[in-house]
């Protein structure tokens, strides 16, 4: 007996982001054939004209952070018709790069970019799970292929996917990389950052900059204080913990020691 597979009804929704994760999906390296063989694309604007956002969906992937009110409305509607909903990529998972703006007043931010701000409808950047319940996270910037593979095969098999949830250090140790934090004294975010990238930056001789966002329950304040001991200026430490994922309490607690993460309107 072979496992009876049903095609997954797939929906992909894009909010505020670079669309890189969607791009990663339509070109899922070697697996594009398998992916498209096993899904029915119900809604995926970057790959297909038409399509209905009414669902129902077996799997919904959310790309991008929430920065406008209409996105919240749609997201909540989609959640109701989605059996499985996964945010993909750092923007959707933890606010990603768009969340850097949260540390400046919204009005100042808008005025820096537009002279006429009457057509701007931005709110502060939020990750998807601030508004709806999610069934896991495919982290990464762009999203990690390992977790994406796990998501697809697990759902085809009918089980819950288990995603990478350890620190980047684990992957450095597997690769036998020289620890850039200890050997070179670089402010590496690896110890508090979720792994899955294969310790990319340390493997390329640079300090991890946390593009996958915080590992669950990461002790960012302890690392922030270690950076201070290593001689980093407070604003540099603040920047390291606010470049990615500062909407998550893990990183926010690290950033807050060295700057203000909340801004008035």
């Amino acid at each position: 007996m072979l496992v009876k597979k049903k095609k997954l009804r797939l929906g992909v929704f894009k909010y505020s982001c670079c669309a890189g994760c969607e791009f990663e999906l339509i070109y899922f390296q070697k697996y594009i054939r398998e992916t498209f063989d096993n899904v029915d694309i119900i809604y995926f604007r970057m790959a297909k004209s038409g399509g209905s956002e009414e669902g129902p969906f077996d799997l919904v992937l959310i790309d991008g952070a929430i920065t406008e009110a209409w996105q919240v409305d749609q997201l909540k509607r989609v959640r109701q018709v989605a059996r499985f909903l996964l945010p993909i990529g750092s923007c959707a998972v933890n606010g990603g790069i768009p969340a850097i703006k949260n540390h400046t007043s919204e009005l100042d931010m808008e005025k820096r970019v537009y002279q006429d701000i009457t057509h701007v409808h931005s709110i502060k950047t939020h990750p998807v799970d601030d508004y709806v319940q999610v069934d896991g996270y495919i982290k990464g910037c762009p999203m990690g292929r390992k977790d994406l593979y796990e998501a697809f095969t697990s759902l085809l098999l009918g089980k819950r996917p288990s995603f990478v949830n350890y620190s980047v250090c684990v992957e450095c140790k597997i690769k036998g990389n020289t620890c850039v934090l200890i050997s070179y004294g670089w402010p590496c975010m690896g110890p508090v950052t979720n792994g899955g990238c294969g310790a990319l930056c340390p493997s390329y001789n640079r300090a991890c900059y946390a593009c996958w966002g915080p590992m669950e329950d990461a002790n960012a304040p302890a690392l922030a204080r270690q950076f201070e001991k290593m001689g980093l200026a407070p604003d540099d430490i603040f920047r390291r913990f606010t470049q990615y994922g500062s909407t998550k309490p893990e990183f926010r607690r690290g950033a807050e020691l060295y700057g203000s993460t909340t801004q008035p309107f």
């Binding site: 791009f23 604007r45 790959a47 850097i100 400046t104 537009y114 470049q243």
Partner: protein, 435 residues
């Protein structure tokens, strides 16, 4: 009795969400009964993320990693432009090796972007499918080509940069890690193996039934003339002067002397114009038109075979130009991969205050970054002008021409398709355009 055209009895093409482009936009075209085009609006509703706003206050070293997240398809262009702008501000001149490796990264990305654009975004229009996924069962050979070519060129960015999207090894004044010679040669082999597919791709693209249209805007591109013993200058991507079919020839630092940006009430992206008021087109077609002489000879021959004659003013033929660039880019990648023998260099930076500008050719056209940096290396001002903003005005102008030409003869559905095809021909990136 002749019925007078009623200006209120108009034909409206309204697209809420333009599929198969990067980012979010819609289109509104209103044509009066007599054929007069009343209104054209490319509504770019991609939400702004305020990159120019939050870059202020960040360190120079972060800028590249941050701006590469403007666009998921051309992160290397944003990254390279950012690094070059920072270097310009700090008076750093990267080594020839660094510059060549950057060129290699950019070429590989242009090729990869064009491949995806042609196969996944353009082809379904011409074969009547909603998307490439639906085409795949019928178009096995095309799928094979797409996968094989994309993998070969992506490997270049992956091996040198760490990952094809948002590479990590590219930093101010160099690379943190260099591939060894063996890797370079094996990458070259990989590309050589798919070169015939690029040729086939160009042939296939040349057989598509493109609508007729002549754009009225100028072409603008970056061009680098031959220096010293070189026979011809390199087909510029990262370095050169700004030239246009209207006779412009500028140092990149004088960008603002010739170009200006305007905000639009109905779009989150800004629109660029020449100061003369003219619109312009940048991207593959502009490049091929303005730098045809600098293409590889094999590419020129291919151009002849597919009947590309320059200057080609049909914006739909941007897709042909992209096909030529895929082929030329592969030839160039093979050349660079075979020639560069990476030697260890440590990217060092002396932080200095200053203002820096860099312009590169992203897959979709000219990309400008300008930063003002303080003495601690913190960015004080940032201005980014992306390809789709540069093309924005010309896209709308072409839509106008298209609607005027086909508005009467075509039915609603045919006209809508042509409008979409035209916009897609530009390969717009609305994520970039708003950023």
């Amino acid at each position: 009795m002749d019925r007078q055209p009623n200006p209120f009895n108009s034909k409206t093409i309204s697209i809420d969400y333009l599929a198969r482009t990067e980012g979010e936009s819609g289109l509104m075209v209103k044509i009066a009964e007599g054929g007069d085009v009343q209104e054209i609006k490319l509504k770019i509703f991609e939400p702004p993320r305020f990159f120019e706003g939050f870059l202020v206050g960040r360190k120079y070293s972060e800028a590249g990693d941050i701006v590469s997240r403007i666009c998921g398809i051309c992160p290397i262009s944003h990254l390279t432009t950012s690094l070059q702008a920072v270097e310009d501000a700090m008076g750093i001149m990267p080594s020839p090796q660094t510059r060549r490796l950057r060129r290699l990264m950019c070429v590989s990305q242009v090729v990869a972007s064009h491949i995806i654009h042609l196969y996944m975004f353009v082809l379904p229009d011409y074969f009547g499918y909603p998307g490439f996924a639906e085409m795949m069962p019928e178009f096995k050979k095309e799928t094979d080509y797409l996968l094989a070519m994309k993998e070969a060129v992506n490997n270049v960015a992956e091996k040198i940069g760490g990952r094809p999207l948002n590479p990590v090894s590219m930093v101010v004044n160099g690379f943190t890690k260099l591939p060894d010679r063996e890797t370079m040669l094996s990458l070259a082999e990989g590309i050589r193996a798919v070169l015939p597919m690029a040729y086939e791709t160009a042939m296939m693209m040349s057989r598509l039934p493109y609508p007729d249209l002549e754009t009225e805007g100028e072409f603008a591109a970056l061009r680098k003339e031959a220096s010293g013993e070189e026979e011809r200058g390199e087909y510029a991507f990262n370095e050169g002067r700004l030239v246009s079919s209207g006779g412009l020839n500028l140092d990149i630092h004088d960008y603002f002397a010739a170009f200006c940006e305007q905000e639009q009430g109905y779009a989150q992206a800004k629109k660029s114009f020449l100061k003369t008021g003219n619109t312009y087109m940048s991207g593959a077609l502009a490049r091929v038109n303005l730098k045809f002489d600098q293409l590889h000879d094999e590419t020129k021959k291919l151009a002849q075979e597919i009947g590309f004659s320059r200057p080609d003013r049909n914006p739909f033929h941007n897709n042909l130009a992209q096909a030529l660039e895929i082929y030329d880019g592969m030839l160039e990648s093979i050349r660079l991969l075979s020639e560069i023998d990476p030697k260890k260099e440590v990217p060092s930076v002396d932080i200095r205050a200053g203002e820096g500008v860099a312009i590169t050719e992203a897959p979709r056209g000219l990309l400008m970054h300008r930063y003002v940096i303080d003495r601690r290396g913190v960015i004080e001002e940032a201005n980014l002008i992306t390809p789709t903003s540069q093309n924005f005005a010309n896209i709308e102008r072409d839509l106008h021409l298209l609607a005027a030409r086909y508005g009467q003869s075509d039915d609603h559905e045919a006209l809508r398709l042509k409008c979409e095809q035209l916009i897609r021909a530009y390969d717009p990136c609305f994520s970039c355009s708003v950023h």
